[in-house]
Each structure stands twice: as C-alpha cells, then as structure tokens.
Amino acid sequence: MTEYHELIVVGGGPAGLAAACEAWEKGVRDILILERDKELGGILNQCIHNGFGLTYFKEELTGPEYAGRFVKMLYSTDVKVKTDTMVLNITPDKEIHAVNTFDGYLVLRAKSIILTMGCRERTRGAIGIPGDRPAGVLTAGAAQRYLNIEGYLVGKRVVILGSGDIGLIMARRMTLEGAKVLAVVELMPYSNGLNRNIVQCLEDFDIPLYLAHTITDIEGGDGRVSKVRVAQVDENRMPMPGTEMEFDCDTVLLSVGLIPENELSKNAGLELDRRTNGLVVYENMETSAEGIFACGNVVHVHDLVDFVTAESQAAGRSAAAYLAGNHAAGKADLEVKTAGHVTYTVPQKLRLANVEQSAKLFFRVNQVMPKAIVTVRSGEETLATFRREHMAPGEMATVTIPRVLLEKANGTITVTAEPAEEI
C-alpha cells in the first residue's frame, strides 16, 4: 500500500531538521522525516563539545544542544517523524522504499523530496596505510561514538592520522578521558581543521602536530595495534628515508576526510559532482531531478553546522515554493566554473528566475593564502572582485554576487582565487 506526502525529508540530522522546520514555516503542512538512527539529531548527538551555534544562535552550544533546539522547534509543528527507518531506494519520480521494524516495508510517494543523508568517514582502505591489520585502527568518528554515546574508551595511547576537525576534537576528548595522545600526523603542510580547534584541542594540551608527515607502517599482527612508524613526506607526499619516528601505541584514529553519502542519489540517477562527491545543485538547492532538493553534507562537506542550517533552510524554502507552484524549473542560465585555487563551488548552476537580490556561492581553495583576491568573471569580463584575508582549504568561503551583475554574464561564470601581496 502506498502512502502519500507533500514533502519527505530523507535524514533527521541538522540538515533535515532545519529543512523540515523551514518548509513548515513556509506553509507546507504534510511533511515526513525518515531517520535511520533511533533518534533525531544525526552526528550532532555524539559531538558533545561546544562551539556550535556561534553564527546562527549567537551563543555557544554543544552538538546535542544545537540539535535539541531544532528538535524542539520541530515538536511545535505537526511534522511527522519515523526514526529507526532505513530508506532503501528512491526513484526519480519520487517513490521512496523504506523499512523499519514497526511499519514493515514501506512504499511512499512524495510531491517533493529533500535529501539530507550526510556523509561518512574515509577509512584506512581508502588511503592504503601499509602494515598489519590489527584491531585498534578506527575512524575518529567511530571512536567518538563509542566514547560519547556508548561510554567506552577505545585506547589509552593514541596516534591520530589526519588533522580534520573530528581528529582534533578527539585528541582533546581522549586526553580528557585519560588517554595519552602521542601525536597528530598530517600529510599536508597545513591542517584541514579549523584554526580554533588547532589551538583549543592540540596547543592547549601540548599535543604535537606533525605537518607534512604520514604513517608508513602499523604493527600489531592480528591482535591489537602495538606500534606505528611515522615519516616526513616530500613535496610529492612520498615518505623521506631517514625521517622515521616510532610511537608505541595501542590505537590509531583516522581523520582523513569525509565523503558525502550519495548511494541513494546515484540509484535515483541524480547528477553528482566529481569534485565534491556531492550532488550537483541549482541556486535553490534543487538537484538534477525536478522537485528533489538536497542540503548539508550530502551536497558538500561543511566545517560549521551553522552553514548547514542556513543552506538547509534555503532548501526548505525552495521545496515550499516548488509545492506552491512558485518555482522556475528548467535549464540553468549560468554554469559556475572554477579556476585558479578554487576547487569547487556550490551551487554549480544558476537560474536567474529563482535568484532574488543576489546569489551566494560557497567554495573552497586548495592552498593556504594569508591574503587573496577572489574574482568572478564571465568570459574575459570581470564581474566582481572580493578581497579576503586568510583563506585555507579547511575553511569554507563564500561570495555573494548581486543579481544585476549575474545578468551581465553569458552562459558561464568562473570563480577564481589568487594570493594577493597586499590589501
């Protein structure tokens, strides 16, 4: 038996919650959230540190508190929620197959869908660390779940590979629980984490950060990790002989990147961006299938949940507009391309009919630039330039381009960033 809804939101983490709340706010009255975990809130539930909400709520909250505010907002609406429910398949014509223990096998249909499946961590297999394969090599997020949700310590002497934010947070967290974090090892010559986390999680606890280093060997047979070797890498990221250090440890935590979870999107035939591994979206967070929107880490990996919230509210508004018939479908007027040190943008496509005053583009750069000039061009013509201080791969950047400038562009716009000597 098929169940019908105006709007189905796939995922009840920060993106799904904000999108559903906003769609309700904008008048959509038949909304269903499908969440695979037993509770709403997504990954925020295990992020018990503070630092969330500085931009959106103008106060410092923990992850569960931040999620809690949105859950509370949601409970003041009639948005329906099914937790512990796994979506198995989504079709381009908006049929959703899902399963849980209380309804059984569900076939659902929606007029609009918002995809918010989030992301997963890269694993040892993705980066090919040589050595034995003992227990004690975990992703930082898995260790965080064990520690913060289940109350188990995964190790006492820890080396962390990768300086992504989860790794930095876990360096502090494991230290506070009595473990000794011997080193954070980063392949690149800079950290991919937020600067505030380097200071508050490593420097404040005297945890050494080895930039331009990597793990070259893990020992431990088929038992538990007993030792890792770390070496400095050259400019081609190859280990340099003679630079090896050894650490006696029982645990290796990996914080080596996040990958948007788009298996459902792939099966639905939606267009993906090879640069982000995320969905390609229009200015209103609509995917390549009409009426299917997406937001949060399933589109591109964010550093701050506040930005996820803003993006998801935009998706919620767009779904409401789509359901109300106030929506320009069809092809893009402008494709957004990248050059210079810009690695990707979101959105990747713009339809001016859906742009009110201005369009906001999110992007990342591929090197640290103390000062930079961001340029938006159309062909040879420069539409706008923006000066920025301290750009880094670990920190998402934005530019807001007025619609009047976009109207001058012809088919494509290109976003570039170059280091600047002076400002």
């Binding site: 849980n100 040589p130 227990a135 188990y152 310590l153 280990p239």
Partner: protein, 480 residues
C-alpha cells in the same frame, strides 16, 4: 577414540569434513583460530579457475577441472554466492600469444570446456575497458567467482549439522602414535583418533613433521590486494588475467561475487605463514601491473587492502598422500592456487585415501547436503514485506552500505558455528563489508554480539584472539 580428525578448518579441511560426515563415522575437526576460514581461505583472489594452467596429466590438472565443476554444483546446493563469469588471459606481445596458445592446448588436454582464443577486436568488443594494447586473449567461460569464506563456512556447517564435532582455538601442538591411531595434543585437551587428515594450510609441513619424517617445506608467498567500491565493480565483466609467470598467475582484475572489484596479487616470499601485512611497495606493484590490463581503475574508490599467504611448497604439485610411516595420516599440504577451485575434488580424494587406509565408508541414511540463507537485500519488495511482517528484526538495517539487517546478524549468531567476533559476523552475513568498512555498523554489530552471546561488550573481538576493540568503560563500576 574418534574415527577421523581433520586438522585445520579452511576450505580444504571443511570440504573433507563435510564429505566424511556423509558416512557412519565419528569426525572431529580441530581449528587453531577462533573461527573457521581465517587463513588462506579468507584472503585470496576468490576465483574458481577453469583448469588450463596446470600441465596435463598432473594431479593438479585433474583436481582443478573436476573441482571447478563440483564447486559450482556445491555452491548451488549450499546457497553460496558463486557466479560463472568466465576468465580471460590477455596477451600483449608475441611471447604472450604463444603462451595463450599453450594454455589453450593444456586446457583442451585437461578437459576444460568451451575454451576459445579471441582476437583483439573480439576481446575489446566484449571488454571495452581493457587496455587497447591487447593483442588477443584466451577465454574460459567455465571460470567463476565465489565467496571463499562462505563456501568454507557452508561446508563446515554441513559437517557440523551431520554430526561432526568442531573445536575452535584448538591448535595441534604435538602428535603421538598410539595403539590403533594417534593422540593429538591441543590447549583444549587431547583427542585420540584412528586416522588424521592434515589440512593445516601454510602450517601443514609443521604438522606433518610432528609425526613423520620431513617430506615437504612450505615457503609462504604473500599476495596483496585492493578491494574497490561497487562503483568500480562493473569495469570488467570477466576475471582478467595476464599471462602466468614464474611467481604464479600474475595480477588480476575481476568483479567479485558481491559486485566489488578485486585487484591483485603480487607474490612476495615471507618468513612466517601468518604475515599478512600489506606494504607500500607491494600495493604500488599491484597498481602498476593492473594498469597494463585495465588502465582506468580509480584507486580513490579503494575500500580495503588485504594480503593472504599462499601455501607454496618445494614441490610443483599439491601434496596429497599418506605420510611415510604413519598409516591413516593423510597430508593435504601445499594447497596453493588452484587450491580453492580444487577443494571439492581434493576432499573426495582424501576420503578415498582414508578408505584405502582401512576406514569403513558406510553411508548414513539421513545425510543433509543443503543450506538456505536469508539475504534481505536480494529479496523482492513483496518478499521483504512478508519477511519483516513475520520477523520484525529484518526491518532494522544495521549495515547501511550492504543493507544487512539485524535479523540476518541474529541468524548468523545462532548458526551452527556461531561467530565470536565482529569479523566473524561479517564473514557470515556481510555486515561491515561495504564502503564504510564497519565505521557506522561496527558498534551496533558489537552490541548485538554482546547481547546475543551474553558477554560484556568490551570482550567482543574484532577478529582473532587478542583483537579487542574497546579497552574499558569510561564510567560505572567497570571503568578503569
């Protein structure tokens, strides 16, 4: 005293035990590790070879071709994932073309069905992602891919269901000759047995030496692999080999029976039979060699690296014989490639040798050689709906990458050979096999294991003895 003891429960030991369990005999299986299928059986290319490699007239040629047929037949009867996708041996130059002609000749002599030599055009029409440097290939449609650990499990379960006894964590440490048989010492106690089958894999030479004059030496040869995400699984449709060389069958690229892509192995001599580390050099070699066959493999989609050790010996053929001066002690040693493919035929030959040694082989009446597994993912929508209605635990998806439900994990934990580790669950129902490699489902699988087996969560292992995942609780009485 039991009638027969099988030492080792890899695919060779399990197949032999399953065949012995057909008869009115008491059968004991001793496995050194805490689970079956943990040695060479779980870490290899997972190919059922067609049988054109071995020299004609050898024991290996006969066992391979017969084994190929039996593997597919048994896989069907025991519901083991197995697909007959066929294999290709690529030729890149004149010497290779001569080699595939030679393999064709051997294959025909060995009785391999439907072999065909392909031109470069025919080959590329069939497999467009292959390197355009190819000059031709040998096609063997009877080659297949299989889940080797599930094959071993299905056979071991068959043995147990038909009355065989399995002791795990029971490595044989010494063997004595006694009146009418042998006394085997293990940390789990002593077993007295009229006859013994030595299926100890890379350690078979050491077990042999416990009771008979030295006859063969294992020279463990390690092979390293990449396992790629399912997004790469359709790159090729066949098992793609290069021409064999002195180290073996070379680096292959193949879809796995689960829909991933496997790339490897290299061949590196190692000192210890349990050295399954991967190396930067070994993996780089694999990538370089594989690129000759299939240039477009995207290693960003790698989900796991692993290594396995081949039981290569100082003898060209398998060692399948009664040990010298040890009546009723049968060695199944040096079972290197194509060992998995030959396993059923080796098992039948072992039973025959035991019969010759005086074992009475009287068939039981109620022998069952059948198994049916419930795999949620493979069911139709209607079947899924009915299953969840009947048992709601199938409605809770635990492993999101592979869509494995709590119902399947519970069934695995109550199967004839219950797993004791997270990887043991993985081998039985695929939870944690996917792209996140258990990052999300590991903690939940662990919880279910602890609950179903009634043990504290901190004692649940990743895999082998000593592989604890959690060191302690942070709060409460158990905190350290």
């Amino acid at each position: 005293m039991v009638d027969v003891t099988v030492i080792g429960c890899g695919v060779i030991g399990a197949a032999t035990a399953a065949m012995l369990a057909k008869y009115d005999l008491s059968v004991m299986v001793l496995e050194a590790q805490n689970d079956v299928a943990t040695g060479t059986t779980k870490a290899n290319s997972a190919i059922i070879h067609a049988g054109y490699d071995p020299e004609p007239e050898t024991q290996m040629a006969r066992l391979n071709v017969e084994g190929n047929r039996l593997c597919k037949e048994w896989a069907k009867q025991l519901d083991v994932p197995c697909k007959e996708i066929g294999s290709l041996v690529l030729a890149f130059d004149e010497a290779d073309l001569a080699m595939i002609n030679e393999l064709y000749r051997r294959g025909v002599a060995n009785g391999v069905p439907e072999l065909k030599l392909l031109s470069a055009e025919e080959l590329l029409a069939m497999e467009p992602k292959l390197s355009h440097e190819v000059k031709g290939a040998l096609l063997a449609p009877s080659a297949a891919v299989i889940s080797p650990w599930d094959f071993c499990l299905a056979l071991a379960e068959t043995a147990v269901k038909n009355g065989a006894q399995l002791k795990r964590s029971a490595p044989v440490t010494a063997i004595e000759k006694i009146e009418g048989g042998y006394r085997l010492h293990t940390p789990q106690g002593v077993v007295e047995s009229r006859m013994v089958v030595n299926a100890a894999g890379v350690f078979a030479d050491k077990v042999h030496d416990m009771i008979a004059p030295h006859a063969f030496t294992t020279h463990p040869s390690r092979g390293e692999y990449y396992l790629m995400d399912k997004s790469q699984g359709a790159l090729v449709d066949h098992v793609v080999f290069q021409c064999p060389n002195k180290d073996g069958k070379g680096v292959l690229v193949s879809p796995t029976v689960h829909g991933n892509l496997i790339v490897g192995p290299n061949a590196e001599p190692v000192a210890e039979g349990d050295d399954v580390a991967v190396t930067a050099d070994g993996l780089a070699f694999v990538r370089r060699q594989a690129a000759k066959s299939v240039p477009e493999i995207n290693y960003r989609d790698s989900i796991r690296n692993f290594a396995g050790v081949r039981a290569v010996t100082d003898q060209p053929d398998f060692v399948i014989a009664e040990a010298e001066g040890a009546p009723g002690f049968i060695d199944l040693g040096g079972i290197k490639s194509p060992g998995l493919s030959s396993a059923p035929a080796i098992a039948l030959q072992a039973v025959e040798l035991l019969g010759k040694a005086g074992l009475t082989l009287k068939e039981k009446e109620n022998y069952v050689f059948e198994r049916r597994e419930t795999r949620f993912k493979e069911l139709s929508s209607d079947e899924k709906a009915k299953l969840v209605e009947k048992s709601p635990a199938y409605g809770r998806v635990i492993c999101r990458c592979e869509t494995i439900t709590e119902g399947e994990i519970i069934a695995a934990l109550h199967s004839p050979i219950p797993p004791v580790s997270v990887d043991g669950v993985k081998r039985r129902c695929n939870a944690g096999m996917g792209r996140c490699q258990g990052g999300f489902c590991g903690p939940r699988v662990q919880e279910i294991i602890a609950r179903e087996l009634g043990v504290p969560q901190t004692e649940v292992l990743q895999d082998k003895a000593g592989s604890r995942i959690l060191l302690c609780k942070t709060k409460g009485e158990d905190a350290q």
